[in-house]
């Protein structure tokens, strides 16, 4: 199963988790909803929708947990007819990451949870220290590209 990652250091831990837990789909994302890595998705933009929903579910469940028992819930499980979903947080020195896992009868909740714990440890061990100073990313005169692309987007070219 191919793993596509935005940040290279997450690739190996996620690939191992996907293989061990036999997931159908896996997403690694920031709690704000931005994708970090994925496995099993077809379109990049569908990944973004899935991330937004996963982040929202996690944020809601976390807030509910805090209101009910003073701390967020550890993990969330949904059982569908043919597939199941497990959503949980993995803490690292680079901040927490969310993992959304979809699995079918090739795996089980117990296996996914067990391998998720291993993955969480592996991810934390692989995380590099946070960057200290952010360099400028875009050219100073990026506006030309932006305006041209927006005009194309809105068919005002």
């Amino acid at each position: 199963m191919t793993v596509v990652a935005v940040e290279a250091w997450v690739e190996a831990p996620l690939r191992r988790f996907v293989e061990d837990a036999r997931t159908v789909l896996a997403l690694l994302l920031h709690p704000s909803g931005q994708v970090v890595a994925q496995s099993g998705f077809a379109r990049a933009i569908d990944v973004m929708s899935a991330c937004a929903l996963a982040a929202a579910i996690h944020a809601s469940a976390g807030e509910l947990g805090r209101q009910l028992e003073g701390r967020p819930f550890r993990g969330l499980h949904h059982a569908g007819r043919d597939r199941q979903l497990y959503l949980a947080e993995a803490p690292t020195a680079r901040g927490p990451f969310l993992v959304l896992t979809v699995f079918d009868q090739e795996s089980s909740l117990g296996l996914v949870r067990m391998y998720f714990d291993e993955f969480s440890r592996n991810l934390a061990a692989a995380a590099p220290p946070p960057p200290r100073n952010a360099e400028p990313v875009l050219a100073q005169q990026f506006e030309q590209d932006l305006n041209k692309n927006l005009a194309t987007l809105f068919r005002r070219g």
Binding site: E135, P136, V137, L138, Q140, D145, L150, L153, R156
Partner: protein
């Protein structure tokens, strides 16, 4: 915080459309969705009530194309405007790289606009964020309504725009001002990535 991948040369930014209930936040996204080609947008996700009021958020991923050699993706969110969705507004606002405040130009909605604007600043402060550091654009929507029902953009500016941020009159239902608003917030958000870190 904008996500930048130097290896794949990708940037992802989160923009939140904020404002009181029924000001036109969702309408902005619907209009954008209707205008953008299929290959440059993802599915629009709308978590709404049966009467089409935003329950949690609307979400629209856009591919802005290549800017300075980086593939640039924007994630547009709206928040639910009704007062009792305070908690979910806070959750959606987390991690925002820029905010579009959509105000309702109707004179009778002025108090709601002010309260919502204050709510935005309070939520940012609660997250430990200096609101002055967050790219912000104000849109005065529903400028197409009869003149005796609405305030002018100058009057709304006096009431709301104490920061002097970019502001645009708009009619989100039919389009005027939507594109200009999006361009402005995109510029402000991306400008942060073209400046040396402080």
């Amino acid at each position: 915080m904008s996500l930048v991948n130097y290896a794949t040369r990708e940037i992802t930014c989160k923009i939140v459309y904020y404002g009181p209930g029924r000001s036109g936040k969702t309408t902005n996204l619907h209009y954008i969705y209707g205008q953008v080609p299929d290959d440059r947008k993802g599915k629009m996700v709308s978590l709404a009530t049966q009467t089409d009021r935003t329950l949690f958020f609307d979400f629209l991923p856009l591919d802005l194309g290549t800017i300075s050699g980086f593939t640039t993706k924007f994630q547009l969110y709206t928040v639910p405007g009704q007062v009792y969705y305070q908690t979910t507004r806070k959750l959606v606002l987390q991690g925002a790289d820029g905010v579009v405040f959509v105000a309702d130009s109707q004179a009778r909605q002025l108090e709601e606009n002010i309260e919502s604007f204050q709510d935005l600043h309070a939520n940012l402060a609660e997250q430990g964020i200096d609101a002055r550091a967050v790219p912000l654009v104000i849109q005065y929507n529903k400028q197409d309504l009869p003149k005796d029902l609405i305030l002018t953009t100058a009057e709304l500016n006096d009431a709301l725009n104490f920061r002097g941020v970019p502001e645009f009159g708009a009619d989100a239902l039919h389009g005027p001002g939507v594109f200009e608003t999006l361009r402005s917030i995109s510029e402000l958000v991306l400008k942060r990535l073209s400046s040396p870190a402080k």
